[in-house]
Structure formats: structure tokens, C-alpha cells
Chain length 415, copies 2
């Protein structure tokens, strides 16, 4: 697709500029954009209003409309995000290790930008400013392909950013928005491996699957979280109730919310009525195995599909297990490798669970809801990786960089 | 494909065992395999003889026959590689950083195996043992899909390894060889993302391209090296000649050999006749631009394709550039991001070149031939990555691992 090849080439050129830009200059751009987003919020809100009207006409409803909506406060929050990114340390340029080899070569590994990053996202226009901020700070050019329903909002935000880039002496092509929002442009972006170093899909499971199956560009898979809370026989039961309720109900629509509860059989008769009453008070539907249904009258029988489902809703699956081994087998079989927690007072169990469970984040005695770049102290987040290559778990600025080996010689040749 | 789904499931189970195996047990397997490969080398050489006879019947010739051939010495060298890997430090289990958050959560990032690694390779049967050693040491199960022409050799090596695995109490499925060597099995492996965490193609540009375009599994792209030597106006010309000759001729068939020479115009008249005479003495064909052809009588005119070609042979392209900027532009345009070198005595030029050239390895005053896991001090190498995601440059044991966050809490819930 002609549009994308041209944008790819321009992004590659912009990335060469960005790789050499100083931290001070990049921060100046971020702060200037933050100001202009607020100052020109009228443009953004007018464009967003058009998107909302068209989306309503097209029959979109509910959560998707809320994700599409921008308000004065949401624009301020976008701007605030950029100011925060400006305040973070620039990871580019750090030399990770520098060693002298026996032949006198001095070899170091230097942190450098990825180059050009593509993002395919759905309805949330604030992603436009967030991704720009993270990419600019790390010296990466970005090509954004947002959803059709958010095009006017994304365009208005991009126009403001590109104007600032030009005013600050940066190539406007540090950020480019794909104009064609058809399915074809998403596919073309996935095939743009001549110019793209990395592609990140941000959206639902369907979008992520399509990108994984079709991309020629290296992908980081984000998102799906079928997270478990395993309550061991040795657990502090009050703590276990508090953590289960928090992990399930504090924000049920996100990937680090718990979807499944596993309870050791020795404490099932004590614990399940306790947690059941609290879950029901929080309007959570319980889908349990036979033992759970016997101990919690309101529980419905779980189907096999329930064990593998990310509900993203006030629903939890629950099972009684004969041992921690049983819990770990269940998690290995049904988990999505996102976040898993054990509640236990037993030292050996805690260490074993941490060692044996294969997930991006494994917890002892804490809510899975903490799997998040801000909670982990990164100050920013571009997504939560559920793959093992390059980055696993919350991704901050560092995960948007690569490295290169730099080698100082004095005439060495290989024998 | 049924065979691969079964192998995938078994590999996944083996990977759970391997993730918990101790370093001592893994080393014991490696040393036992090293012994048995030598002790049973007769089996391997007989199988290899069959492969060689069939390959000859099929009309294969030259370099491919040499890559396919095993000898007593080559088997000993395979075994020696495993002994060396046993002696290296086990990267699994290291905790990279452990920090206490303000809410009391203690968060660390622990190095863990990838899980299951797939390798698609061509004619060299020694890859079977090499990959097994690297994967076992790092706690990864491996599924190998070798070339049709090397099947009997690969099978014989795999049989010996699987027998040792079983004898040492490890699942034999820590290493599996795909029996179907049709194109279909390669495609099926690329689509085995339910069970594979990483796929590494080892072979020619065609194989790598096919994998990049078709894999649903995360890929590390290895190999293509169009490496440049830029001789700056301030270079020590004798050093520049020695490095150019070494980088071009010491082993021309490998990816870190130089393919192109760029010379600053101010020293072209002095340097090109010097280096030209030496290149010709080493039987190197020179394909030059107009200026080069004027200064080296034996040079042939270069075509546009020559600038972008990895010759892997005693051929070098050569151009005169007006400045270091000109050299860097040329490298940005035609380089493959593998290894690039500047020869200079000027401090600022050296630093600028290191900063601005975007490649896996950038050298000052040394031969590009050093881009190699052993030369970099890793003690082992699974390939040289030319992509930016996960690993860039020579990949050793560490690059075959992932990380997971481990979090110690005492009842924390998110507000």
C-alpha cells in the first residue's frame, strides 16, 4: 500500500534524527505538546464530538462509546501523562556492560532506540498521545493505525503534535497517523517489515490474534489475562478473602483482574462460605465445581469453557483442589501466563509456587491487580506482554529500546 | 499436523520438568551425552554416510556436501561443544533486580527458561547437538526440524541424546526431531504457537525470509550480513589494509565477513592502490565505483545491486565517499544492520560513527570478523540476531531465557 510505504520511509528517516536527539530536546517537545493539547483542547473535543455522533449513527454502544469519549478532563489527563514521561529518566545511551577481552578489544552493550514502532489500536483516542510520548522519549518514530470510529479525534491530536514537532525542529514524521482505516491498511502495516522494527497491537483478543497470525514484523503480544488466586490450606483466611475480593471486583474489566479461584480442600469448608458471602455482596456470579456448589448455595455449575475464560466481568470460576500441585496443574492447563497468586503462610509453599508457576507475574499474598507499569514503579506503561520474547509483564520505557554492541579496537584482526 | 501437535504437547510437559531441573543434573546430562556421542560415533558416521550417498544421488554438490559431512573429528568437536556448555554458568534463576515499593510489595525480575524452542535448519547435522546443549543448559525443551538431506544423521544423534536423557531421569522429549521433513512440517512448526515460545531459523536468506513471513510464533531473525569497512581520512593506512584484508578474506563465507569498502576521498589516491594490491594478491574481485576503477586498474565497475549484496565469496564492492556522513548514508541505505567498522585515528569521528551507525555491532579499528559469541566471551552461540527485538548481535545462553516478575506481599490490595 503506497501510503504505508511512504510513511514507512519517512518514519525511518525521522528515526535517524530521533536516535541522535538529546534528552533535553525530547523533553522540551513533550512539555510543549502537553501545553498545546490543553490549549487546543477545543479542536480535539470538536473532532471527538463528530466521532461520537458518527459512532452513535453506526449503532455503537456501551463500553466502546465510553472508550471513544474524550472530555476536558481526559485531555488534561493525556497532557499530564506527557509531562510525567518528560520527568522520567531517558533509557537511551546507557551502556549496560563494558568488558575488555584478552585480545584488547573493549566491548560494551549500549541501549538504543528500536527505530520505528507500529501500533494498531481500537477505539481509545488517548492512546495516540500516550504512545507518542513513550516513543518520542525513547527515540522511536511511531506509525499509528487507529480505529475508524476514532479517526477524527486521532487526527486532531496528531495535528497538534506534528505542529509542535515542526516548531521544535523535529521531523513531523516522528509521529504519523495512517489515514486509511480499512482492514487493508492494518494488513499492510503488518507487512511493512522493511521499515518497522516492532508492531504492538493494543485491543481485544481478536485484534491481537490477527496480528500474531499475519505480521511479518516482530510483534509483542499484550493483554489476555486469565488470572488465578490459589488459597492454600495454610492461608490467613481473612487476608485471602480481602485479596480475592480486590482482585475480582476492584476493576473487573482489566487484564490483571482475577477470573478464577482455587481453594485447597482442607480449608474449603471454612473458606468458601466466607468468600462466597463477600463475592455475592459484591454482585459477583460464582461458577463452581461440585464441591464449590455444595458449599456456596448461590454458585452455578461451571462448564469446561469457564475454566479457560477471561470474563472481564463480575463473574468468577471456582474449584476445590486436593493440593498445591493440583492448583499448579490447573493453572498450567488453563492460565494465560499473565498474573497468578498464592495466599499462604507456609514458606516452602510460597517459594515453590513462585518457582513453578509460569506467568509474567507471580504473587505471594497480594492482589493480581498490581501487574501494571505504574504499580511496578516504571512511571509509564505501553502494555503488558504475555509473551516471553523481549519483554514479559508490564512494559515501560526500557522495553521500547534495543541494544547494540560497540567495540573499541586498536587494529585487531581475527586469526 | 498431528505429529507436531503431539510433539508440541510433549515438549511443553518436558519444559515444566526442565524449568525445575538443577544445574548439576543438567550438566550431568550434557557430559554424559558428550561421552556417548564419541563412544557411539560409529552409529552417527554410518547414518551420515547414508545421507551423503543419497545427497550425491540427488545431485547435491560443493559447499552443501561439506556442511552435511561428519567425520570422527567433527563428532569429537560436537561432543567438546557440549562439555564446554556444561562448564558455563547457568543463567536460569538469577534475580535481576529486587525492589521494595512504597506499599511494601517486594518485586524482582527472575531469569527463567523460554519454555519450548523450535529450530528450523538446513544441512549441518552438528546443529542438532549444539542446539540441544544450549537449550538443555537453559532449561528449554527443543523441537528440531532439520533438512531432509541430513535426516539420518540428525536421527542418529537424537537417538543417542534421547537415550541419555531417559537414563538420567529426564523426559526424552526434552529434545525431539521432526520426522516429517516436507515443506508442510516447516509450515506446521511455524503455526505451533500454542506450544512454541520461540522459533529460530538457521540457514540461508530464503529460509529466514519464509519463516519471518509465515510464522505465528515469535521469531529471531539471524544471519544476513552486508558488512562495511569505512576508511576515514585520518586512518592509519597500514592498519586499514590489514583490517580490510582480514575482514574480507579470513573466512569469506560467513555473515560477519566484510562485503563492502568505503574510502574517504582525501586518502583514496594513497589508500586504494595499497589495499587494491593486497586484495588482488588474496584473489579478491573488486567491484568499484568510477573513482575506485580509476585508482585500481583490476577493479570492475560495480552495479547498483552490488552495493546491497552479501557476496559470501572473494568479492568486495568499493566506493569513494566525500565524507564520513557520506559513508554513514551509504551504510544506512545498503547495510543489513549486522557489523560495521570505521578505521580512524580521529576521536570525534570514532564516537560519531559508534553513535550514528545502526547495526548489531559497530567497531572502531577492528575487523568485523569478531562478531561472534565466542569472540565476545559468551562461551557459546546459537546465532547472530539482526533484529532489534529481544536480542541483537551474537546470542549466547542468556538470550535463550526470558524473565518473570516475582512479587512478595503481605496482604496488599489495590486501592
Amino acid at each position: 500500500m503506497e501510503e504505508l510505504i511512504i510513511k514507512g520511509r519517512k518514519a525511518r528517516e525521522a528515526s535517524w534524527f530521533l536516535a541522535m536527539a538529546s534528552t533535553a530536546d525530547k523533553n522540551k517537545v513533550l512539555e510543549h505538546v502537553a501545553e498545546d493539547l490543553v490549549r487546543k483542547s477545543g479542536n480535539i473535543l470538536t473532532a471527538n464530538h463528530n466521532d461520537m455522533v458518527n459512532a452513535e449513527k453506526a449503532g455503537l454502544k456501551g463500553a466502546i462509546m465510553d472508550r471513544l469519549l474524550l472530555t476536558e478532563d481526559r485531555v488534561k489527563s493525556m497532557a499530564g501523562g506527557l509531562t510525567q514521561i518528560a520527568a522520567l529518566e531517558d533509557p537511551v545511551g546507557e551502556v549496560l556492560a563494558m568488558k575488555k577481552r584478552p585480545n584488547g578489544l573493549v566491548i560494551g552493550q549500549k541501549r538504543v532506540p528500536m527505530g520505528v514502532i507500529g501500533i494498531i489500536y481500537e477505539s481509545r483516542p488517548n492512546v495516540t498521545a500516550d504512545v507518542f510520548g513513550l516513543c518520542l522519549k525513547t527515540g522511536n518514530a511511531a506509525i499509528l493505525r487507529g480505529g475508524k470510529e476514532a479517526y477524527a479525534s486521532n487526527r486532531a491530536i496528531t495535528d497538534i503534535i506534528q505542529k509542535v514537532l515542526a516548531e521544535e525542529g523535529f521531523p513531523a514524521e516522528c509521529l504519523q497517523l495512517v489515514e486509511n482505516t480499512s482492514r487493508d491498511s492494518a494488513v499492510a502495516l503488518m507487512q511493512l517489515d522493511e521499515y518497522l522494527d516492532l508492531l504492538i497491537p493494543r485491543g481485544g483478543a481478536g485484534l491481537i490474534r490477527t496480528v500474531v497470525e499475519n505480521s511479518h514484523v516482530p510483534v509483542i503480544e499484550t493483554g489476555v489475562g486469565n488470572c488465578h488466586i490459589y488459597v492454600d490450606e495454610s492461608a490467613d483466611l481473612d487476608q485471602a478473602v480481602a485479596i480475592t475480593i480486590n482482585a475480582k471486583t476492584q476493576r473487573p474489566g482489566v487484564c490483571n483482574a482475577a477470573e478464577s479461584l482455587l481453594v485447597h480442600e482442607k480449608i474449603a469448608a471454612d473458606f468458601l462460605p466466607m468468600v462466597g458471602a463477600e463475592l455475592i455482596r459484591h454482585k459477583v456470579e460464582i461458577r463452581g465445581d461440585k464441591a464449590v456448589c455444595q458449599l456456596i448455595g448461590e454458585a452455578k455449575p461451571a462448564t469446561v469453557e469457564d475454566w479457560g475464560t477471561e470474563f472481564l466481568d463480575l463473574i468468577i470460576s471456582a474449584a476445590v483442589v486436593p493440593s498445591m500441585d493440583g492448583a499448579i496443574s490447573h493453572i498450567l492447563q488453563y492460565g494465560s501466563g499473565h498474573s497468578e497468586a498464592i495466599i499462604t503462610e507456609n514458606y516452602t509453599r510460597a517459594q515453590d509456587f513462585l518457582n513453578r508457576v509460569d506467568a509474567a507475574a507471580v504473587y505471594v499474598n497480594a492482589s493480581t491487580r498490581f501487574t501494571d507499569g505504574f504499580e511496578f514503579g516504571f512511571g509509564a506503561e505501553i502494555g503488558i506482554s504475555t509473551q516471553k520474547l523481549h519483554a514479559r509483564g508490564p512494559m515501560g520505557l526500557r522495553e521500547l529500546t534495543s541494544t547494540k554492541y560497540i567495540i573499541y579496537g586498536n587494529g585487531q584482526v581475527r586469526e
